[in-house]
C-alpha cells in the first residue's frame, strides 16, 4: 500500500504540466449564516476568469465557515500543499487579520476582495497585499460626508461593539461636521433593536447613521420602519446590498447608502458585467460580486504582463491596476488600497425587485486615513 502511494506521489511530481500554470487560492465563506457574501465574491471572480478564456489559471476554492482558525488552516494548506501563487477571497476583517500577515510574509500575493482592516492599510501594510475593495472606514467616511451635504446637523449613530463597529463610527465622525445626538454600541449579533430605537426617538436627532452588517441590519431596518420614526437614515452599502434588500423589503425604501459600486454606473465594463452575471447566475449582482469580478480582472491584467514567479515584475503589474473596473476609474494609493469615488445611492423598487440607484457623489477620488502610516 505504502509503495503504491509513494509511486503515485512520484508520478504526480513527474507529471507536472509543461505550461506554467498560475495557481490561485480562494478562501471564502460558503456555509453558515454569512455564506451569501462569499458566494457572491466567488461567483463574480469565477465569471471574470471564465470570460478571460484562459485555461492556465487554476483556482482552488475552500470554505472557511467564517471561523478564523479554519481560515488559517486553509491558508497553510493553500501555501504548503497547493503551493498557490496568489491568495484571495476572505470576507471578514477578523479572518483577514488572521490570515493575511502570515501569508504575505511567506511571499504569497494577497488580493482582498472585501475586508480592509485598518492595520493592514497603515503600519501593517505589506508590498504583497493589495486591497481591491475599500479600506474599512471608506464607506462610513462617505456617509459622514453625505450627511453634511444633505444638511444634517445632529446625528444619532450606532454600530456593534467590535472593532469594525468602532472603525465605522470613527469613520463617520471623521467627516461628519454636525453634532451627535447619541452614540450607541450594540451587542454583536443582536436581533432586537427596540431599546435603541426608543433612544433614537427620545434623542431629538435629525438623522440616523448605522453600521449593522448582515442579519443585524435587516432586523434593525424592519423594526425602525415599524416604529413610526421618520428621521432619514444613512448607512454604508453593506446593509443595502442586493443579496439582503429583498429580505428587508419596503422598510429600506428611500434610505441613502454609500457605495463605490452600483449596477447603474455607466461604463461598458459594468454594463457587460451586470448583464453577464444575470445571465450566468439568474440574479442581480451585488456589491460583493462586483468586487470579486474586479479582483479577478486585476489579477488577469497583471498576468498579461508578468508571471507571479517573477515577484517584483508581477507586483509592479498589479500596482499599475491596468484593468477596466466595473466602478470606472480605479487606482492604487501608496498603501495598495484603492483611490476611488464613492457614491450615495438610494434604495428603490423596480417592479418586484428592490435595488439601488445612484443619486450623487459622496466623496471624489477618496483614499484612506491610514496611508501616511504605511512604510513600504
Amino acid at each position: 500500500m505504502k509503495k503504491l502511494l509513494l509511486a503515485a506521489a512520484a508520478a504526480s511530481i513527474c507529471a507536472a504540466p509543461a505550461v506554467a500554470e498560475v495557481k490561485v487560492g480562494m478562501i471564502t465563506t460558503l456555509s453558515g449564516g454569512g455564506a451569501g457574501l462569499g458566494i457572491d465574491v466567488r461567483d463574480g471572480f469565477m465569471l471574470a476568469i471564465a470570460q478571460s478564456g484562459r485555461d492556465d489559471i487554476d483556482v482552488v476554492i475552500e470554505d472557511d465557515q467564517r471561523k478564523p482558525d479554519i481560515a488559517v488552516q486553509l491558508s497553510d494548506k493553500m501555501i504548503q500543499s497547493e503551493r498557490v501563487d496568489v491568495l484571495t477571497g476572505i470576507i471578514w476583517s477578523n479572518l483577514a487579520m488572521a490570515v493575511v500577515p502570515a501569508a504575505v510574509n511567506q511571499d504569497v500575493f494577497y488580493l482582498s476582495p472585501n475586508a480592509g482592516p485598518s492595520p493592514l492599510a497603515g503600519k501593517g501594510c505589506n508590498k504583497n497585499y493589495f486591497n481591491v475593495a475599500w479600506q474599512n472606514d471608506n464607506l462610513h467616511e462617505a456617509a459622514g460626508a453625505y450627511a453634511n451635504t444633505a444638511g444634517y446637523t445632529n446625528s444619532f449613530i450606532l454600530a456593534p461593539n467590535y472593532p469594525a463597529g468602532t472603525d465605522a463610527l470613527t469613520g463617520y465622525k471623521r467627516f461628519f461636521e454636525g453634532d451627535l445626538a447619541g452614540e450607541i454600541y450594540t451587542k454583536l449579533g443582536q436581533t432586537d433593536y427596540a431599546a435603541e430605537i426608543a433612544q433614537i426617538r427620545a434623542s431629538g436627532a435629525d438623522s440616523v447613521f448605522f453600521f449593522l452588517p448582515g442579519g443585524m441590519g435587516i432586523s434593525f431596518l424592519k423594526q425602525y420602519a415599524d416604529s413610526g420614526i421618520d428621521l432619514p437614515v444613512v448607512g454604508p452599502a453593506f446593509s443595502f446590498d442586493q443579496g439582503i434588500l429583498q429580505a428587508v423589503g419596503g422598510a429600506a425604501l428611500g434610505v441613502v447608502n454609500t457605495s463605490q459600486w452600483n449596477k447603474d454606473i455607466d461604463n461598458p465594463t459594468n454594463a457587460a458585467f451586470v448583464e453577464s452575471f444575470q445571465a450566468e447566475y439568474g440574479r442581480l449582482p451585488s456589491l460583493y460580486a462586483s468586487q470579486g469580478f474586479d479582483t479577478a480582472n486585476l489579477l488577469l491584467s497583471a498576468l498579461e504582463s508578468a508571471s507571479p514567479s517573477d515577484a517584483d515584475a508581477f507586483r509592479e503589474a498589479l500596482r499599475a491596476a491596468d484593468f477596466d473596473s466595473t466602478r470606472g476609474d480605479f487606482a492604487f494609493g501608496p498603501n495598495h488600497h484603492p483611490i476611488q469615488t464613492i457614491y450615495a445611492r438610494e434604495v428603490i423598487q423596480e417592479g418586484d425587485v428592490f435595488t439601488n440607484k445612484i443619486i450623487g457623489t459622496a466623496l471624489e477620488n477618496h483614499s484612506d486615513a491610514y496611508a501616511a502610516d504605511c512604510k513600504m
Binding site: P68, D69, V72, Q73, S81, M97, A98, Y162
Partner: protein, 328 residues
C-alpha cells in the same frame, strides 16, 4: 470484532507519530499541520475528559480554559512583538516569545480560573452544571469580543511562532514533535492518576457521591481538584493551538467550541484514556475530507454523529473493544 484496548491505544499513537514522518518524506507539510491540529484538539479533550469521563461532570464551558490559554499566549507574544510593556499594576513585563514560559502562564491562569469557576459551578450538578458552565463560557466570550485593547472580535495575530530552546518551531515537523511529546506526557500522567487514590475517588464519585462522602472524603475538594487539573491541561492546549495558528480570537471561547470538545470525546469513547485522541483524529479527518466534497458537508457530519450516538454506544473505542464506556 474484539480487540484489547491497549493494542488499539498503541496502534493509534504509533499511527499519529508515523503519519507526519511519512508526510515529511513525500513533502506534504500540510498533512503535518493537520495532524498537529488533531494532536492539540486531543490534548484539550483529554483535559476535559478528566472531569467529563471520569468525574461525570459535563462541562459545557471548557472553551473558557482553551481561550484563556490562547489569550495568555497571544497577549505575552503581542507585547514581545510590539515591544510594549504589559502593566498589571503589581507586575510589569515586556511579554515573551518563549514557549515554556507561555505554557506555564497559560496553565497557571487556566488553573486559577478553573478554581474560581469550579468553586461556584460545582455547587450544582446534572443539567444545571452543564448550563452554568455554558454561562461562564458566554461571559468570557462577550468579554473577549469587547476587549478592544487585544483586538476584540478581530483577535490578535502573532507574526512568528514562539520559540522553544534548541528547536526551530516554524518547521512543521518540529512543532508537531513538541505537541506530540506534550500529549504523550499528559496521557502518561493521566494513566497514572487514574490508578492513584485520587483517580479512584473521582471515579467513585461519579457513581455515588454519598458513598464517597461516608468514606470520609470531601467530594467537593476532589471535584475541584479534578476541575482545576482539567482546566490547566485544556489551557495548555489553548496556548499550543494559538501557536499553531499564530492567531487568537474570541472564537476560542465560543460555546460551539465547547460543544466540539464534547463531541470529540463521545466519538472516541467517554471515560477512556485514548477516547479523546481517537475522537480528535476522526473529527479532523472528517472535517478535512467532507469539506472538500460538498458545500453542504455539515449535513453529512451531522448524520455521521447521529449514527455514532444511535448505533455506536461507547464511541469508536466501544465498538472496537466491545465494551461500553463509562456512563455519565
Amino acid at each position: 470484532m474484539r480487540i484489547a484496548e491497549h493494542w488499539i491505544n498503541g496502534a493509534v499513537l504509533i499511527g499519529i507519530a508515523a503519519l507526519p514522518l511519512w508526510a515529511l518524506f513525500i513533502d506534504e507539510p500540510f498533512t503535518i499541520t493537520l495532524v498537529t491540529r488533531a494532536v492539540i484538539l486531543a490534548l484539550a479533550a483529554v483535559g476535559l475528559n478528566i472531569v467529563l469521563g471520569f468525574g461525570g461532570l459535563v462541562s459545557f464551558g471548557h472553551a473558557v480554559f482553551f481561550g484563556l490559554g490562547g489569550y495568555a499566549m497571544g497577549i505575552l507574544a503581542y507585547h514581545a512583538q510590539t515591544y510594549t510593556v504589559l502593566d498589571l499594576g503589581f507586575f510589569t513585563t515586556e511579554g515573551t516569545k518563549s514557549m515554556p514560559i507561555i505554557w506555564l502562564v497559560a496553565m497557571g491562569i487556566s488553573a486559577i480560573a478553573a478554581f474560581f469557576i469550579g468553586l461556584l459551578c460545582l455547587r450544582t450538578s446534572g443539567v444545571y452544571f452543564i448550563m452554568i458552565t455554558l454561562a461562564f463560557g458566554q461571559m468570557f466570550y462577550y468579554f473577549a469580543i469587547s476587549w478592544a485593547q487585544y483586538g476584540g472580535e478581530d483577535g490578535l495575530s502573532i507574526y512568528v511562532r514562539n520559540g522553544f530552546p534548541g528547536l526551530n518551531t516554524l518547521v512543521p515537523i518540529q512543532f508537531f514533535g513538541i505537541c506530540f511529546a506534550l500529549l504523550c506526557l499528559v496521557l502518561i500522567l493521566k494513566a497514572r492518576l487514574q490508578r492513584a487514590p485520587f483517580g479512584l475517588a473521582l471515579n467513585a464519585l461519579r457513581q455515588s457521591e454519598a458513598r464517597v462522602a461516608t468514606m470520609g472524603l470531601n467530594p467537593m475538594r476532589i471535584k475541584l481538584l479534578a476541575f482545576v487539573l482539567s482546566g490547566a491541561i485544556t489551557g495548555l492546549a489553548g496556548a499550543l493551538f494559538a501557536d499553531l495558528n499564530r492567531f487568537v480570537s474570541p472564537a476560542m471561547f465560543s460555546w460551539q467550541f465547547s460543544g466540539e470538545l464534547i463531541v470529540l470525546i463521545i466519538i472516541g469513547g467517554v471515560g477512556r484514556l485514548m477516547g479523546p485522541v481517537i475522537g480528535a483524529c476522526v473529527f479532523v479527518a472528517l472535517e478535512h475530507f467532507l469539506g472538500g466534497l460538498t458545500d453542504f458537508w455539515h449535513v453529512y457530519l451531522g448524520l455521521i454523529l447521529l449514527g455514532i450516538v444511535l448505533f455506536g454506544r461507547g464511541g469508536l473505542l466501544g465498538l472496537l473493544t466491545g465494551k461500553e464506556g463509562a456512563h455519565v
